[in-house]
Symmetry: C2
Subunit: 232 residues, 2 copies
């Protein structure tokens, strides 16, 4: 990359980082826990998140979603089948979400009335890496149908993730997915990252994933409320 | 996108286009037919291309491959199991191949002794769209495991493709892939695009795909040789 380009790119990223920091402060003030969900196209994100939102509701968590796609509003429609609200962002030719798109989408939501916001990113396991959306947790969906080697071949994004959900695990046996090897490869790319096994189709692993998120969200809310009480 | 950024981006793309044009002229002079193979990560590109190269060899076509990944040389090793030569390009954090990377990789090959070069792009169905590699044909691999809706949700790249290979068709029934619907969605995103059904695993559709490519390659070679004779 030439110096001129690098400079411009750095400026855009810096602007995004500043906006993401503002968003993060706003999320903390409103007591909402935010997850940036990334994966390849067709990794089963929408199926997983629809099941997850339904489960979170049943566990008493107030949740909504924002979803980015180049075209079509299909995913927001699918996500709303969970009974929760979803806002579609259309990115046109853009290969990732940026903080300002999320900020605009949030105008639809009363943040103070939510516990968790899920942001479903554009299907891409390279470009979303550099774009902070102000999230608390970045989750990679990694489907059994993609092959065990993907964390090693696409190391940059997974290396910024805090959680991996293995998806489409109902197909693992059929596609001869070596779950142990895939888990080891995740750990090699991102040492210590928790890896949960899920299937949006059968519902396997969804209660565990929901509890993981709920615990993180409650824990954040407690910390924020203690900090709030101190500064009040 | 801000005007400043747009301007810089336009300049980079223009430079790439000029280099791609030079490559295209060079490929024509050497009588080699070049295919830019794009898809999501884990779409079965490498499996398909390994089977395809083996079949092309058997059909008397001299073929080699160039393959781009962020990390690991796994794919070149796998492609060479076909008995053909493969060169690995490591892109680092780059989400697509560019013409200069292909030009450098070609130093490994005696182009005049080849009929077909396959370029396996980085797994990404957004960003490779704008980057001409000097190819004659752009082929999208679209796996049954990804869901029928992908051509509508990611329309920009498929809209630059000349051929779609449905991959992992051995799994179509298990994942309840509606092949007719997927084919219609391809046609909606890119009217008239040929759609071939393949499986790198079972070999289904590979001879047909190889014949399609061989016919295109021979036809280009004949045109070039007639043009050469005329200008000589």
């Amino acid at each position: 990359m030439q110096p001129r380009i690098l400079e411009v790119r750095t400026k855009i990223l810096k602007k995004n980082d500043e906006l993401a920091r503002d968003l993060r402060t706003r999320f903390a003030d409103q007591g909402v826990y935010v997850i940036n969900v990334v994966s390849s196209p067709g990794a089963g994100k929408t199926e997983l998140l629809t099941a997850l939102m339904r489960e979170l509701r049943e566990q008493g968590v107030r949740v909504a979603a924002v979803v980015g796609d180049l075209a079509t509003e299909n995913d927001a429609v699918r996500l709303e089948q969970s009974g929760c609200k979803a806002h579609q962002i259309l990115t046109g030719t853009m290969c990732h979400l940026e903080a300002d798109m999320v900020e605009n989408a949030l105008e639809d939501f009363a943040l103070a009335e939510l516990d968790v916001v899920l942001i479903e990113n554009v299907g891409n396991i390279v470009c979303p890496q550099s774009w902070d959306l102000g999230e608390d947790l970045r989750m990679l969906c990694f489907p059994s149908t993609e092959g065990e080697d993907k964390p090693l071949k696409y190391p940059t994004l997974i290396n910024t993730c805090d959680l991996v959900a293995l998806t489409k695990m109902d197909l693992a046996e059929i596609v001869e997915f070596d779950t142990e090897l895939a888990t080891r490869n995740c750990d090699e790319a991102r040492p210590g990252v928790p890896v949960l096994r899920t299937s949006g189709k059968t519902g396997a692993g969804i209660p565990e994933l929901a509890r993981f998120i709920r615990d993180r969200a409650w824990s954040k809310a407690q910390v924020e409320s203690r900090l709030g009480a101190r500064s009040a």
